[in-house]
Amino acid sequence: MEKITRLSLYIINNSKKRRLILGISAKAFGRIIGKSEEFVQNIESIRRGHYLHIDFPSIANALDWEIHDLLPPDNSPYSDGTLVDKVVFSLKKPSDAEEVIVGMKDIGYFKKEKSLNDIFEHLYLTENMSEKRKVITELLEKLVSNNILKLNNGKYLA
């Protein structure tokens, strides 16, 4: 597996999560920061690569954030520079997917009723992404049973 600094990994995962919450595609995100869709997909995958700090202002701007929002909290432990595995944020992972759905709820996405297809569209989950779709579907069921979301005529609402 590719290795990366802890800080770079944090920024990749944090920005990817935010991008998904806001419903920005990799293509649109790349366009705003002046990069290609492939560049963003590459950085956000287990392949080699990280964002350069000169792009931090553009990335923060694209995500409607300040630069500091990209960074780890002040109480984070110090890094000695030892590289870590590039384990990227993914909707295939239920805990990551939950952070995205809860983040969507927090920004008001579920103030209006949303169908499963609306949610898939928001997350750019095409029909061939069955594994991620399955994770999201099961997660929504869990959030409904935990009273975090409501289900009304097949539509989700906060």
Partner: protein, 410 residues
């Protein structure tokens, strides 16, 4: 006085400028540098902790030179300056914002030092300006005195195998800081490490420099035996020797960490501990496994490394020596350690297979457990006196050994 007269100062000044410099690059450098100056961390010390040569950071600081702190190194700046990343990376920069830098660079050199003066003005995109004055001094050929206390601490770390794997200067500095607060400066650490990497250093404590991910590392120069033991450590497989209580002929066996993270003795499918009368015989047995035992996952990789290194035992278990040690007037630390090693070995065997579970009950017998607890308390710095019924201890211990041997040797 004579020195002063001989010491000719050569001074050169250049007027320089740079346009369209990335503002975030510049601000990161300024923020970090100002924190370091406040905390009295020199440019040389920053370079050292980054794992670079002495002048590395001074050269980056040259505002007229296009070099900057690379993204890969942002990760370590908080640890170097004992601050958080948000104090280093600015928050209020626009995308692709640039600045212009204009000013002078004066270099004064003499026999003893090289001083760079940077006087420059930064012009921001809205037309506002800010002036900077930096003085960066490099002392030439100064003699460095080693801090003896720090050197001893490093030697202790070396003997405890800390340097068996390469370490960055920052790794070592963070460890020292966590244990001794701010007792030792990065410069003192650099001087102590250069003493240990010097050719004249005692081989027992000799370190070597290497490079990992473009940063300098420090590691022990391992002899062949140490290399083999490190190979064992990497693969979590070790050769051990057991000396039965009634003979002096050792029996060799494999001790390993299994996938379930439990330590185990290598046993045959039918539950016997695999023992050999020599290391060579043991290795032959391991290489020619014909369904005799279930091979540990790393065995093949471990065996391939064994061909290049002289195989060595990591631990010898000798109950006879433990008994002799407990019969002596005072029980030595070595005896206690030998006992605990054996006690743990019994625990590993007892836990790995129900057929050996009886050993666990015997292990808990009054005085045996008492001595083990005493050892653990002392390891945890809870110093207590060892109060022990030695006669009872020896009876319990002999019984445990006899039962172990009945399982392992018969």
């Amino acid at each position: 006085m004579e020195k002063k007269e001989d010491n000719q100062i050569i001074s050169t000044t250049e007027h320089l400028s740079r346009q369209k410099v990335s503002r975030i690059d510049f601000e990161i450098l300024v923020n970090f540098y100002e924190i370091c100056k406040k905390k009295k961390i020199s440019e040389r010390e920053v370079s050292f902790l980054m794992g670079k040569v002495n002048k590395y950071f001074s050269e980056i600081l040259n505002p007229f030179f296009k070099e900057h702190v690379k993204t890969e190194y942002l990760d370590i700046l908080p640890a170097i300056a004992s601050t958080c990343i948000r104090k280093i990376i600015p928050n209020d920069i626009s995308p692709k914002e640039t600045i212009d830098i204009r000013g002078t660079h004066t270099r004064e050199t003499d026999k003893y030092s090289e001083v760079d003066y940077y006087k420059f003005t930064v012009t921001y995109k809205d037309g506002t300006t800010r002036n900077y004055r930096w003085k960066i001094e490099i002392t030439k050929g100064s003699r460095s005195k080693v801090n003896p206390e720090l050197l001893e601490i490093l030697k202790k770390l070396i003997s405890r195998h800390y340097f068996h794997k390469p370490k960055f200067a920052l790794n070592i500095y963070i460890i020292l800081k966590s244990r001794f607060k701010n007792t030792f400066s990065p410069l003192e650490l650099q001087i102590a490490l250069s003493k240990l990497t010097n050719n004249s250093c005692d081989p027992e404590f000799a370190l070597q420099e290497g490079v990992n991910n473009m940063r300098i590392t420090y590691s022990k120069i391992l002899n062949e035996t140490e290399k083999f033991l490190e190979h064992c450590q990497d693969h979590r497989i070790w050769i051990s020797r057991y000396i039965p209580i009634n003979t002096s002929e050792g029996q060799f066996f494999i001790w390993y960490e299994d996938n379930d993270e439990n330590d185990k003795l290598l046993t045959s499918i039918d539950g016997k501990v695999l023992l050999s009368s020599s290391i060579e015989e043991l290795l032959t047995l391991l290489k020619s496994n014909k369904g005799v035992f279930k091979a540990p996952v790393n065995l093949e990789a471990w065996l391939s490394g064994v061909e290049e290194l002289p195989p060595t035992i990591s631990v010898t278990y000798s109950p006879k020596e433990v008994i002799a040690g407990f019969e002596a007037d005072s029980v030595s630390v070595e005896t206690l350690t030998n006992f605990v090693n054996f006690y743990n070995l019994i625990g590993d065997l007892g836990c790995q297979d129900e057929r050996f579970a009886e050993l666990l009950d015997l292990r808990e017998a009054g005085e045996l457990r008492n001595v083990w607890d005493f050892y653990c308390d002392n390891q945890a710095k809870r110093h207590k006196e060892l109060s022990l019924d030695r006669a009872k201890f020896l009876v319990d211990f002999r019984e445990l050994v006899a039962r172990f041997e009945s399982f392992a040797l018969e």
